[in-house]
Symmetry: C2
Subunit: 278 residues, 2 copies
C-alpha cells in the first residue's frame, strides 16, 4: 500500500521494543527475526520504504512492462533476479522472504492469508518487484513545512479508484488508484513542485480540483481507507497510488502473488532525499 501510514495501534503486532528505530538494517534484522510484525511508518526516517509484489517468472515480463507503461502508479525501484530473494541495490543484507513485517498471499488473484515469513512459500521461479511509495514524498512535503491534515487525525491519505484506466500489459490492467490530499491553493502549488522532484515515488499529482472529473466521489473511498475531508478553502489533489498494481494483479490472476501487507512496507537503505531528481 502506497499511502503514508501512521504509527497505528500496534498492540497486536509483535515488537521487541528496544532496538534502534533510526537504523534500517536494525529494523530489517528485528523484522527478519519475527520480533516485529507492525506498521513501518516512523521506522528508519529518511529511508525509502517500498511496495512489494512477488510474482512467478511467467508473469514477470508483463508486470515489468506494466510498470514501464504506468510509471506514476508503479515506480519501479528494483526487480530481483529470478528465484533470487535478494535486492542488493536496496540493501546488501536484504532477504525478501523475511524482511517484511507481514505479507499478503494471493492465489489466482484472490487474497488467501497473511503471514510474517514467506520462506516456506519461496520458489526458484519467483521474481520480486519493489515499487516506490508515497511515504517518501510525504516526508519531503512535511520537511517543506506543508501540513498533512490527516496525520494530526492519526489517519492516512484517502484512497479512491478513479475512472482513469492504466495502460495494460499482457493480463495486467485495471483502473488507476489514487490518493487524495487536501491543501489550500498556494500549498497545492507547492506540493506539486515538491512531488515533481520525486518521480520514483509517484511524482507529481495526476489531478487537482473537481473529483468527479476522474470519476471520484470523495465519500466513497477504496476499502474506507483514509481521510476524505476537503475544507471549503482547500483543493483536493490526487496522486497515483501503489495500490494500482494490486488491482492489476487481481485482474491478471497469477497462480501465486505475494505482496507486503498494507502499511507494513519493505524498509530499504536508500535515502528518500537521494530519489530527488532536482
Amino acid at each position: 500500500m502506497s499511502t503514508l501510514e501512521l504509527q497505528r495501534d500496534n498492540r497486536q503486532a509483535a515488537d521487541p521494543g528496544s532496538w534502534d528505530r533510526a537504523d534500517p538494517r536494525a529494523a530489517r534484522s528485528v523484522i527478519r527475526s519475527g520480533a516485529f510484525t507492525g506498521y513501518t511508518a516512523g521506522i528508519a526516517p529518511g529511508c525509502v520504504q517500498a511496495n512489494v509484489c512477488i510474482l512467478p517468472r511467467g508473469f514477470a515480463e508483463d508486470f515489468l512492462l506494466y510498470c514501464q507503461r504506468n510509471p506514476k502508479p508503479c515506480p519501479l525501484l528494483a526487480r530481483s533476479d529470478v528465484g533470487d530473494p535478494r535486492l542488493p541495490t536496496l540493501a546488501d543484507d536484504l532477504d525478501i522472504r523475511s524482511d517484511i513485517p507481514r505479507y499478503h498471499v494471493f492465489r489466482d488473484g484472490e487474497f488467501m492469508e497473511e503471514v510474517t515469513d514467506i520462506t516456506p512459500l519461496w520458489r526458484d521461479d519467483l521474481v520480486t518487484f519493489a515499487l516506490g511509495c508515497s511515504f517518501s514524498f510525504e516526508e519531503a512535503l512535511l520537511q517543506a513545512g506543508l501540513r498533512l491534515k490527516f496525520l494530526a487525525r492519526n489517519n492516512v491519505a484517502a484512497v479512491y479508484v478513479s475512472s482513469i484506466d492504466t495502460i495494460a500489459a499482457g493480463p495486467f490492467k485495471g483502473p488507476l488508484v489514487v490518493t487524495m490530499r487536501a491543501f489550500k491553493p498556494a500549498d497545492a502549488i507547492r506540493a506539486i513542485q515538491i512531488t515533481s522532484r520525486f518521480p520514483n515515488v509517484h511524482g507529481a499529482p495526476v489531478h487537482i480540483g473537481d473529483p468527479g472529473r476522474i470519476g471520484v466521489d470523495l465519500s466513497r473511498r477504496y476499502q474506507d481507507v483514509g481521510d476524505p475531508e476537503v475544507a471549503d478553502d482547500e483543493l483536493p489533489v490526487f496522486w497515483a497510488c501503489g495500490l494500482t498494481p494490486q488491482l492489476a494483479v487481481r485482474n491478471a490472476k497469477p497462480p501465486l502473488c505475494i505482496t507486503h501487507a498494507p502499511s507494513s512496507m519493505l524498509i530499504t537503505d536508500l535515502r528518500n532525499a537521494a530519489l530527488a531528481v532536482l
Copy 2:
C-alpha cells in the same frame, strides 16, 4: 505590461517591414531608429522581453527593495547604474532611451503621455529597472505542448487586481496584480511544473482554483485586458503580473516615472531558455 501580447493590429504603428525579426539586435536597431513602434510579441523568438520602469535616483533604493521583497510580481533582471542609459547584462548595444517602441510617462503617479523616444526626458539621476515578463514562460508552456486558448482568440491572459497585498518598501505598495490562464487539471499541474523553472519571469502560480479566494471576480478584469473564459472542465490558474509594480509606482507618486507601453517591451539578447533554473 507582463501579459503575453499578440501581434495585434499594428497598422497604426510604424514598421519598415523588411528586417530580420529573429534577431534581437536588428529589432533594437529598427526600434531605435523610430521605424518600429508596434507590439513586440513574436519578435526575436526565444529572447527575453522585459518590463521596464525608470525612476529618479531618490526612489531607486526603495523600488529595488520592493522588487527584492516581491520577487514574483517584480522579478528583477537588471538595474542600471544611476544616469546610465545602458543595460550591458541584457545586450551590449542597448540604449534604454530609444530601444523600446513606445514609452509611457508618468508624473506624480499619473499617466501623462506616450512617446517613442525618451532622450529629451533623460536625466543624470534616472535609474532603469528591467523586470521579467510572462512572455518567457508562455513560450516554455507552448513548447511543452500546452494550449494557451487566448492565443487562438488573438487575445492575452486576463488581468486582475487581487486582494493579496504586496510587501511595501518605502512609498511603494499596493495589491498584487495577477494574470489568469485556464487549463484542464492535468495541464494545470504541468504548467505549475514548467513555470516553476522560471523564477525570473514570475515563476510558479500564486493561486489555483476559486478566484474569490484571492478577491478576483473573473468578469471584472483590470482595464478589460485579456480573455476571462474558464471552461467547465478547466481550472483558473493565477500568476503574479508585471503590472503590479506599475500600481505600486502610482501609489509612490514619484515626480517622474517612465515605463514601456503595454505590449511594447524591451527586447534583450538573453535567451528564455537560459532563465530556466532546472
